[in-house]
């Protein structure tokens, strides 16, 4: 247990110390909120869908949590190259504990980032319909964070160096983001897009956050909250098992 705690704490310390990274990783969500939220807002309004920033903010929060958690998992690659990974791998601690400590640390950082973006969205004009449900939204952020931190660890354990990084970015992370409905409503698409969005775990996270933060007049959920929670829980468990298995196989 103490190993899990100390590695969780390490991730947090690293996050707090790299202010530049913190600011940089908030720049992108801010850009999305400004450019898309204010840029497309009037068109969205005229089309009769109401306020775009209300729809967009949960999507951008989901995006932030996705990026932050998956990169924390891939941080394994940096630790491999800079050697710290070896230090943890020869320690007399089950590798499962090391993997869990890292994953929870990365997930915690991702949730903090998500909450910061929530605050930024609030400043940009986003208003939750019911403040009492904000903790449920945070629970969804936690679920998204665990799912993708575990995915990041699974991938980070399986590739040797950063050369595969761009590939993962373009063919995995960006599609997960764009096809999750983070930027558009999930209803009313053709069969292809409908199927794809339903295969994307992030869709359930974003939809869950929207359902609890928006009023029913603003947003029509694609899934029941319980469905989203179950899907995220199931995908998260499977990815944790795969991540732990891949991590236990690392050779240096």
């Amino acid at each position: 247990m103490s190993a899990i705690y100390i590695l969780w704490l390490r991730e947090l310390k690293r996050y707090v110390r790299s202010r530049a990274q913190m600011v940089a990783s908030l720049g992108q969500p801010l850009l999305y909120l400004l450019a898309l939220g204010f840029g497309l807002g009037p068109v969205f309004q005229r089309a009769g869908y109401g306020s775009y920033i209300q729809l967009l903010a949960p999507g951008v929060i989901g995006m932030t949590v996705l990026f932050s958690s998956i990169f924390s998992g891939l941080g394994l690659l940096w630790d491999r190259q800079f050697g710290f990974l070896k230090e943890t791998l020869v320690a007399p601690v089950p590798r499962l504990h090391i993997m869990i400590g890292r994953t929870l640390g990365g997930a915690t950082v991702a949730v903090i980032q998500g909450m910061l973006v929530f605050i930024i969205s609030f400043i940009a004009g986003f208003r939750p319909a019911n403040w009492l449900l904000v903790p449920v939204a945070v629970a969804f952020m936690v679920a998204i964070a665990v799912v993708f931190a575990a995915l990041g660890v699974a991938i980070g354990s399986s590739i040797q160096d950063m050369q595969g990084f761009q590939l993962i970015m373009n063919f995995l992370v960006m599609p997960i983001f764009f096809l999750s409905g983070a930027l558009f409503p999930l209803a009313g698409h053709g069969i292809v897009l409908t199927v794809i969005t339903r295969l994307d775990p992030l869709s359930y996270g974003v939809d869950g956050i929207r359902t609890v933060l928006l009023s029913s007049s603003q947003f029509e959920p694609a899934f029941a909250v319980s469905t989203s929670a179950i899907v995220l829980g199931a995908v998260g468990s499977v990815l944790l098992v795969i991540g732990a298995w891949r991590f236990s196989k690392i050779e240096i």
Binding site: Y5, I6, F84, K86, D161, I252
Partner: protein, 264 residues
Amino acid sequence: MIHVKNLVKTFGNFTAVDDVSFEVAPGEIFAFLGPNGAGKTTTIKMLTTLLQPTSGAIELDGLNPRIHQNEARKRFGIVFQDPSLDGDLTAWENMEIHGVLYHVPYKLRHHRAEELLKLFELWERRNEQVKKFSGGMKRRLEIARGFLHTPKILFLDEPTLGLDPQSRNQLWNHVRRVNESEGVTVFLTTHYMDEADRVAHRIGIIDHGKLVAQGTPTEIKEQAGAATLEDAFLTLTGSTIRDESAGSADMMRQFAKMWSGGRR
């Protein structure tokens, strides 16, 4: 304490370690010598559960590290050849993580961390991030960290690389001390033959993955008919210079330097 029998490791069609067998007795200081790329580090990686051997048997304190990974890991400590510190954390935090991972009780690990940081003259800068340290300081911290817990077997992979004579002296005195007072078995590699001659009880010389000589320093010198260990080493392994290609790790470091503005 360490039994290695017919150990083989191949990467593709390259044989890094080729049918190596040796034994290290409890309480012994064993020096594993060889030119660059001879298979020293690969052997250490297999002994310390970081790599699976292709074939052959290893026993650490009666345990097979392949099967009883965790039990085997409890038996040893290691100072790696290349860096393994977390640059974003302070020296003290690096020691603390190590202490927790090796289950050293709170009071003892703080006491020992203080002692070791003072011994290797890092105490004044314990609260600075390691990435701000010079190469020699990082190296000293790695070594201090390796001594934080008392293992049965201590692996030192070229521990003196990049150390000044003062630190080297401290290191070897400390190695002798833990060996004599706590009976720690030491398995070390080095390129400095005089160090091996002074410190090691027994020596094994490896070249091109094969063990070419084994014995006490005197025996090795007699076997090669040379006056010094350095001459014996050259006689046994030839005088051609070996190349080691830059691995992906080195390329990665270059890349990281470029992007982080030398932050790491």
